[in-house]
């Protein structure tokens, strides 16, 4: 396969491009290189280069319309659902180019799960059916395996104890926070390597938010997580790395502690301190 993009080995020889300077380079899940995305004539993302560390939480911050959603959606090719999108540059997942013509977007999405801003359990299905539907529709028939995954996914999403006696009830009968954890369980059931979250807490109250944050913290031992948030405190609490986007450009990217205490860019500081955006 003719790959115009540098391999992992080549990249490792150029540690200057790493976001973190002092620590040894962490293993990478995504390597995004010179990524630009267009919707028709409109350029939503301009020349973004960014590495996503494995088993860590990367927070994407920035004002509305700055390309955050477009950026995380291009990590599992969900942005392609909008007609007339065009992409330049490359996104490597564990070294594999996600946009190579031999790659099936459905397989990418199985490896890179996604949780949305608005919880969206399927209204025609019970809690249990919601969790295993991804496996079912991907051809898994083994009931014993499905039951195992059902319990395991709900436990990982910290929802099992609350719903274990109500698995037959409609998914939409749960509270907002529980519905969001159900959606996380549904995403985990297909055993992805990465979990993308598009403002997973923006519609939740503080208690439900705290539960999801705790969950994110636990999940990062097993998953790489990329999350969008509009809440600076939340980014500070849960993330290891933070990327600040503005007008489709990556303004600054680095360890969260550095971004929040000693940002290099003026725009980053203004945004974080609430002076604009």
């Amino acid at each position: 396969m003719a790959n115009p993009h540098p391999t992992v080995a080549e990249r490792v020889e150029r540690p200057a491009e790493r976001p973190s300077t002092a620590e040894p380079a962490p293993p990478l899940t995504f390597e995004v290189k010179n990524l630009s995305i267009w919707y028709g004539e409109k350029r939503a993302i301009s020349d973004v280069t960014l590495d996503v560390a494995s088993n860590a939480v990367t927070a994407i911050i920035g004002p509305s319309g700055c390309g955050k959603s477009t950026f995380i959606r291009c990590l599992n090719r969900m942005h392609e659902l909008v007609p007339k999108t065009r992409i330049e540059g490359s996104v490597l997942l564990q070294g594999q180019d996600l946009y190579s013509i031999t790659v099936d977007p459905a397989i990418v999405r199985r490896r890179v799960g996604m949780v949305f801003q608005k919880s969206n359990p399927f209204p025609t299905m019970s809690i249990g059916e919601n969790v295993v539907i991804g496996l079912r529709l991907n051809g898994v028939r083994d009931q014993k395996f499905l039951n195992e995954r059902l319990e395991k996914s709900l436990r990982m999403a910290a929802l099992w104890d609350e719903v274990k006696d109500d698995l037959h009830k409609p998914g939409t009968s749960l509270s907002g926070g529980q519905q969001q954890r159900l959606c996380i369980a549904r995403a985990l059931a297909v055993q992805p390597e990465v979990l993308l979250m598009d403002e997973p807490c923006s519609a939740l109250d503080p208690i439900a938010t705290a539960k999801i944050e705790e969950l994110i913290y636990e999940l990062k031992t097993q998953y790489t997580i990329v999350t969008i948030t509009h809440n600076m405190q939340q980014a500070g609490r849960i993330s290891d790395y933070t990327a600040f986007f503005y007008l489709g450009k990556l303004i600054e990217f680095g360890p969260t502690t550095k971004i929040f205490t000693n940002p290099s860019e003026r725009q980053t500081e203004d945004y974080i301190t609430g002076r604009f955006g």
Partner: protein, 290 residues
């Protein structure tokens, strides 16, 4: 404020009240005019037809002219057979076409499809009878149940297509995204998530289309043709309730007139029942999305 302007103000207020009363009366009368025909039709059918609707009507074949009694069982069964045949054509084409419109079509293709469907919805139903007569009856040299079913099925297609499209577009995009993000293939997402979520609406559209064609007479005149006896083969002419009513109503015999009233009552009651089913199906509509 002077006396004059106070009075002018009062007059103005009065006139506004009158206009308000006029407007609400006009809307009320119009609303009544919607309900009144239904009540009148039902009343009229009950008065003229109820006495002739009896067990015999549902289990006996028509008797020859001059003999009392007899029923329309062949027409009732014939209508059901025709509806079944029409469904075989109308439901798959209509539903799949609606799915295409809502999920796959590009703006330009969709514009053409919608325009075609809306024009077809406006085509007088007798036209379908003539078209099928030319295409099928003449070619195969005979009236048949197949021809009648085809004519009715063609009427169903644009009706079902448009309702299916509408209810599928009502399914929030979040469900499609959620399924696709699980790595589920597009067609599986559409069948198992989108169509399942919209299933009540799709079934409603199908039932309304069936209710609409159940009473069609004109497209059957040159296709199903009608039959006073049992139909033993779908490639032969077949009786249908609306056709039988038509034949009996224009006959010169009082006994047949009574049977026509009875047939009309049965037909309208059947269509009424389908509409009630639709109401029941769509009752929780706002609560359960579609």
């Amino acid at each position: 404020m002077t006396m004059n302007s106070a009075r002018a103000n009062n007059d103005h207020h009065h006139w506004r009240k009158v206009k308000n009363a006029l407007a609400s009366t006009a809307t009320f009368v119009s609303a009544l005019l919607v309900i009144a025909p239904l009540g009148l039709v039902f009343f009229h059918l009950l008065v003229n037809g109820a006495s002739s609707v009896n067990w015999d009507f549902f289990v006996h074949l028509p008797k020859p002219v001059g003999e009392a009694g007899g029923g329309m069982v062949n027409a009732i069964v014939g209508s059901l057979e025709l509806l079944a045949l029409a469904s075989v054509i109308g439901i798959p084409v209509g539903v799949l076409g609606g799915v295409y419109l809502a999920e796959y079509g590009t703006a330009r293709v969709n514009w053409v499809l919608r325009f075609a469907a809306d024009v077809l919805n406006g085509v007088p139903s007798i036209t379908w009878g003539v078209v099928v007569y030319g295409l099928v009856v003449l070619r195969f040299k005979g009236f048949s149940a197949y021809a009648g079913g085809l004519a009715l099925g063609l009427i169903m297609i644009p009706l079902i297509l448009r309702t299916t499209e509408e209810v599928i577009l009502l399914v929030p995009n979040g469900y499609r995204e959620a399924a696709l993000a699980l790595g589920v293939a597009r067609w599986k997402t559409i069948v198992h998530i989108v169509m399942k979520t919209a299933s009540k609406g799709i079934i409603t559209g199908i039932l309304l289309a069936l209710a609409r064609i159940g009473g069609e007479t004109a497209p059957l005149l040159f296709t199903a043709f009608g039959n006073r006896f049992w139909n033993h083969s779908l490639s032969q002419p077949i009786a249908a309730l609306p056709l039988q009513i038509f034949t009996y109503a224009i006959s010169p015999y009082d006994d047949w007139h009574r049977q026509a009233w009875a047939g009309a009552l049965v037909l309208v009651t059947g269509i009424f029942c389908v509409n009630v089913m639709v109401r029941i199906l769509t009752r929780g509509r706002t609560a359960s999305v579609v």
